[in-house]
Amino acid sequence: MTTETLLWLIPLPPVLAFFLIVLFTNRSKALSHSVGVGAAFLSWLMSMVVFVRALGVEHLGEHPFESSINWLPTGDTWLRIGVLLDPTTAAILFFVALTIFMIFLYSVGYHNFGQPKGDHDHKGLPPHGATVDEHGHTHVVPSVEPMYSRFFAFLGLFAFGMYVLVLSDNLLTFFVGWEIMGLCSYLLIGFWYAKPSARDAAVKAFMTTRIGDVFMLLGIAYLYSVTGTLTFREIFTEDVLHTLASVPSGFLGFSAAGLIGLLLFIGTVGKSAQFPLHVWLPDAMEGPTPVSAMIHAATMVSAGVYAVVRMFPLISLDAGTMSIVAFIGAFTAIFAATIAVAQNDIKRVLAYSTISQLGFMIAALGIGAYVAAVFHLITHAFFKALLFLGSGSVIHGMEHGVLHTGNHHVDPQDMYNMGGLRRKMPITFWTFLIGGFALSGFPLITAGFWSKDEILADAWGHHHYAVFIVLAIAAFLTAFYTMRQITLTFLGEPRTKEAEHAQETPWTMTVPLIILSIFAVGYGWVGIPEHFPVLGGLVPNWIHEFVGGTLAEHPEAVEFNWTPLLTSLFVALGGLGLGYAVYRDVNSVAQDRFQIPLLKNKYYFDEAYNYLFVKPAYWFAENVVYKLMDQGLIDGILHIFGPVTDRIGAFIRNNFDLPVINRFFGDGSADVTYGLGERMRFVQTGRIQQYLMFALVTFIVVGAALYFFLLA
């Protein structure tokens, strides 16, 4: 089977799974997860085949695998859609396919497959546990998720959207995939729809990303109007890029390329939760953990960065846009890192960490470090997915403890209720540790080190010193809060009874963790810079060679410099060490010195947005649209119809029907006939002579007429 055919086929299994599950296998849990996991496996297999083949191609960037069809007739030309596999796509496809497969597998265990049905479980609420009679005494065990099949269906649709986005060769299908993922994020965040917080979070996520999407669509439209095409390869030709760079857009002095880039970037700001549209991502933790892993680590937020990566040749044309990108990225990185320090929910910390790391990638792109950004994107997907799945495992273990003690007031997600879990959940602990170290950039052995170091090296090497400093501080904070998280969760002694009774999770959950941790460690080694002391040159810098080939001009590797290396070593180890030192003795919230209200409350952004946008929107909807327009105008018009019709009817009745039809025609004809009869009856005199006279007169008249008109 040709690679191009495979490329077309890769998105198919997940969407087929979606339809199959929705239509047919909804009732059977085993069948649904088999279909779902099987589909994910199939797509992964095909992606691996494609990836291996792509590795074998020399200069894949110049002649990538592509296949397109005529789709939309536009006058004389056609809008084409299709698939494209250039080096960047191949590298990203690798991690997308793997993480999706891992998450599918993980969900089987996460939703407690095989466990009994809950005592009072409701569709729409998280499962609450089932009482089981075992060896004489009753146990409460975790119960299976009532909407089990639905989850896999949504995950399938989500996977489909991501594959479409990654593999598309044009902005239109890219955007389609983008929107599908937006929809699925809504469906999945609000998976437990009976929880009000989940519902609100889903709406918030969708609304916020929508704002970004609108601007992105404007960008796409503007691009199309200037160039007449949406296919990436056609846009990134010399001529088209030159045109875009020189045509002024009329907006604040940006060139067309700059404005398009800016608009597309706003889409990314929404999707990748950058400042100021970052507010949805922490709330999105309401969804089940596999969802958080999928959406907020591996796929959806990566899609935002991927958008900038894809459009890099366009965005990089305009210095103004690049500056904005770099600024927002760097600002978000440090901003989110400061908030993460004060969060107590295990998933919240990871959420803000994601925002911060995405900021790193965006900043890298903003300063032109293409390869570094892609590299960090890939490694981040691995270790963040690992961390999220690990946190899900932790929460599962804690819930076991909650069910055991029966105390439902204990929040299984609050880190201050945990502690000492390294003994109870060893596999989770070690994998989480690997992931956390990767996130912090632990030197040499973790992938995060190599990718983060690359970004810092690029920033220093190209003299973006402001970005360098900001990112270095953000990296320090990252290491700090990560160690805080690990310390509070795993190290020390259990702080609550629930933590004491925590239990390791089944293989379906731990095996994905192990697999991901392998990559979280090993993937870094494909990106060792050439001039790195000692290690450089041992292994070729595959990622630089391979991914760098995507761009028209192969980016040159930055010269090795000791400053960024020492900085990253310092921030990583220093942050980790400080985190451990501060938190090893902290046993309760009161002892935590970093519980600053400003940070804890996320700089009051939610409150500000609520006041500035949400409340006015509600007011507008209530008063203007509902009361004024709907009730007043539309209903008013409708209410006019009744009386007006009534009056028209009465008018017609009284002025036309009664006088003309009834009186004039109806009664009138009767009256006329009667009147005529009354007057004409006098002809009947009864006298024969008069009858004869009339007859004669008539005869003479008719005869004369006949004679003169016919015979004469």
């Binding site: 002579q689 008069q690 006279m693 004669l696 007169v697 003479i700 005869g703 004369a704 004679y707």
Partner: protein, 169 residues
């Protein structure tokens, strides 16, 4: 002006004058008598037309029967011997007008006809008109059917007249 013409004009005038008297005289018995004279004039006209049989039948039937009948009818329908009131309608002028119009119309119609001025061909001297008439009346190839129907009609009329005028008292 041949003699025939003169005789014709005299007879015609006499008949027409009698006719006028029939329709204008106040006394009804006088009218009946004037009818007799008119019928006589008509009979003479038939004779002029060499319709001998018709002339005689006219006298016998019309004058001998019908005129008598009229006189009887007049007799039987009088409250007293003298007629009372005018015998002419109040709308007599309409009638006069119509009569004039009719005559005028007929006259006008006759003007266009070409055969108007034909004169009678000579009457064949050896032609037995009466025998031919008798033949025509009873011959199945001729007019026996109208003849028989006429007889039926007369019978019907006879019975009808008797029945209608029958005095049940």
């Amino acid at each position: 002006m041949t003699g025939e013409q003169i005789i014709f004009i005299v007879v015609a005038l006499f008949t027409l004058a009698s006719g006028v008297m029939v329709v204008t005289t106040g006394n009804l018995v006088h009218a009946a008598f004037w009818l007799v004279s008119t019928l006589f004039g008509v009979a003479v006209t038939y004779a002029l037309l060499h319709a001998n049989f018709l002339a005689v039948v006219q006298v016998v039937v019309y004058i001998g029967a019908i005129a008598i009948l009229f006189i009887f009818a007049v007799m039987l329908t009088r409250k007293d011997i003298r007629d009372r009131g005018p015998q002419i309608n109040s709308n007599w002028w309409v009638g006069a007008l119509l009569a004039v119009l009719t005559f005028g119309g007929l006259f006008f119609l006759l003007q266009d006809w070409s055969g108007m001025s034909t004169t009678a061909s000579a009457y064949p001297s050896d032609f037995d008109a009466i025998a031919a008439l008798g033949d025509a009346l009873v011959s199945p190839n001729a007019y026996v059917l109208p003849f028989e129907v006429a007889s039926v009609l007369l019978v019907a009329a006879l019975i009808g007249a008797v029945y209608v005028a029958f005095n049940r008292k």
